[in-house]
Amino acid sequence: MLKINNLHASIDEKSILKGLNLQVNAGEVHAIMGPNGAGKSTFANIVAGKEDYEVSNGIIELNGEDISELAPEERAHNGVFLSFQYPVEIPGVSVTNFIKTAINETRKAKGLEDMPAKDMLKKIREKSELLEIDRKFLSRSLNEGFSGGEKKRNEIFQMAMLEPKLAILDETDSGLDIDALRIVANGVNKLKSKDNAVIVITHYQRLLDYIVPDFVHVLHDGKIVKTGDASLALELEAKGYDWIKKELV
């Protein structure tokens, strides 16, 4: 699904990723953990195609195709979804119309007609129920005045609507209380299949109780320095990151 080889990236001449390697196969859940400033969000933004970063070296392949020159929307059309750590507020555009536009623009890129209104409504109803989203919420301006938890739930709602091949969840657990965390995790688990993959970026083991990863990676100083199974997350929770930093020396 996703193959990243020796990725180097910087912003404003500050080097952030320094040779990152990662292989994610269909059907897998990967967790990326690491201390603040390790480059986790940078990694997510670069895979999604944010233009602020300078990628100096390395390969990003999605299903065998190099996507590193593609615009963010083209990557989205190819199935990349990023759940933002800080979802942007867009006053004047309702949640419903935003997601309708997103779906139909994606269909247009694939040479398909707009989704019939009836199907769209059915899907919106289905997915909003999955994430226990109040209908009234759907007619509000996108993320405007949403609580932290509502914003994250709305991100996963959009993910459910768009059905991406590769979903990157950037600190989707931050700002969530336990109930919201359970709902969001449940939504992600329901969407998981043998044909798609999920990368969960988090500081805490908590989320991984609900979304159980096949692999846990530790990102430190722009590189993945350790990979293990779900038990690695527990170990990190218990011991912090210092022991890994020491191991590296």
């Binding site: 990557r75 867009i90 536009t101 623009e105």
Partner: protein
């Protein structure tokens, strides 16, 4: 010959075609003297600091354009709101087109200024209202001097006019440069309601300067909803001088949609002569190229317990320039005034300019006056967010700009006008997405 001299020396010829033995003609002649004294506005005037007419006035304008070439309905239908039944007062090169118009005298009058000025049955209304709220400034005086044609709308008491009224001025470009002086008078008596749509449209690329004066009188508890659609040819310029006189409990809204032309100057003036009045001034400006749109608004709060709401949004691309000058005067007697003014601008290009100036003169001490003014760029993070969800950059920009301007559309009460404006905005922003926000 300079345009001013040409205008002054044409006056004798103009007089051949109007009744010179009338009170109205005395008003005209005084206005001509006033224009002679003041001349065209220059940038030295504070109110014209950011808008120069100099290059425009170099055109050799024809002042009394010949009856232009014939206009077929099929060629101009697109400029009408044609999917609903409306009254229409249509002018071609300043002359009335009975063929394109649909007037009425049934329960109220929707007709021509020229007939109102000449027929005795309109005399009392004309004498009471004509030129009574219009300011005696340079360009208004010029219009008054040559005022002979335009729309005349008189709605007596307690009438809800069911169909909107369209006032449309076409210029055919039968001359290389055409100047017109349309003059509209709208009198809405107590407890009546009317909706008006106004448009000025050039049909060729020849230069046009329309210097329009519209006087609106809203009596007690009257409601007037006025929509101005400004989406003209690149060589067509417009000076719109609109004066609104309101009495107690009346509500008047003017929405101005400025999507271009050459130079567009809107002088929109509200005078509140009563209590519990609501004045609503809203506008969307979306321009590009070297287009220029200037909104000068004035709300004069004269008596207590009144409100005014201003909301102007502007999007400026390429080398376009905009002006917003919003003046609010609250007189000493006008306690409990609630005056709200909002002006937000997006500069899409590094080369576009906006000059924004809120001006509040408050002499009362128990009032609520708020004003906000912002100038910004499109939010890159919001664009990336939309792209990440599959919405291409171009459409994303369009969606963001549309959402930005959308608050102004919410108060448009005629659905067909709203959908027309929505289409014009989509067209202006060069995007093709379902804008049913």
């Amino acid at each position: 010959m300079e345009l001013k001299d040409k205008l002054l020396s044409s006056y004798v010829a103009f007089e051949d075609n109007v009744d010179t033995n009338s009170e109205i003609h005395d008003i005209r002649s005084k206005a001509l003297e006033n224009f002679d004294k003041l001349g065209f506005p220059s940038k030295k005037l504070e109110t014209w600091k950011y808008t120069s007419l100099n290059s425009l006035l170099k055109n050799d304008f024809s002042i009394f354009p010949d009856r232009g070439r014939a206009v077929a309905l099929a060629d101009v239908k697109q400029y009408f709101i044609h999917d609903i039944d409306t009254y229409k007062v249509v002018f071609i090169d300043g002359k009335y087109s009975s063929f394109l118009s649909a007037t009425t005298h049934e329960n109220f009058d929707v007709c021509l200024m020229s007939s109102a000025l000449n027929k005795s049955k309109y005399k009392s209304v004309i004498e009471t209202y004509f030129n009574k709220v219009a300011k005696q400034d340079n360009l208004t005086s010029l219009n008054t001097a040559f005022a002979s044609e335009g729309a005349y709308i008189h709605i007596p008491k307690n009438i809800e006019v069911q169909k909107p009224i369209q006032i449309i001025n076409f210029t055919t470009g039968s001359e290389p440069a055409t100047m017109t002086q349309p003059r509209n008078l709208i009198v809405v008596e107590e407890n009546s309601h009317v909706q008006i749509i106004e448009r000025h449209q050039s049909l060729t690329s020849n230069a046009v300067l329309s210097n329009v004066v519209t006087e609106v009188f809203a009596a007690k508890s009257a409601t007037v909803d006025y929509y101005k659609i400004q989406d003209d040819h690149i060589n067509a310029s417009l000076v719109d001088n609109t004066y609104v006189n309101q009495k107690s409990n009346s509500v008047v809204s003017v929405h101005t949609f400025s999507f271009g032309g050459n130079i567009t100057r809107n002088n929109l003036n509200f005078y509140q002569n009563g209590e519990h009045i609501d004045s609503i001034l809203k506008g969307i400006t979306i321009i590009e190229g070297k287009q220029h749109v200037d909104h000068h608004t004035l709300v004069h709060h004269i008596e207590p317990n009144c409100e005014s709401h201003q909301d102007y949004k502007g999007i400026y691309d390429e080398r376009s320039t905009g002006v917003f000058n919003g003046k609010v005067i609250v007189e000493k007697e006008a306690q409990k005034t609630n005056a709200y003014q909002q002006n937000n601008n997006v500069l899409v290009s590094d080369k576009s300019t906006i000059n924004a100036k809120p001006q509040l003169e408050i002499f009362a001490d128990d009032v609520k006056c708020s004003h906000g003014c912002t100038i910004g760029q499109l939010d890159d993070d919001a664009l990336f967010y939309m792209q990440q969800r599959g919405i291409p950059k171009k459409e994303g920009r369009g969606l963001l700009m549309f959402a930005f301007a959308n608050t102004v559309l919410e108060s448009v009460k005629i659905p067909e006008v709203k959908s027309r404006i929505t289409k014009l905005i989509a067209n202006k922003l060069k995007v093709n997405i379902g804008f049913d926000l």
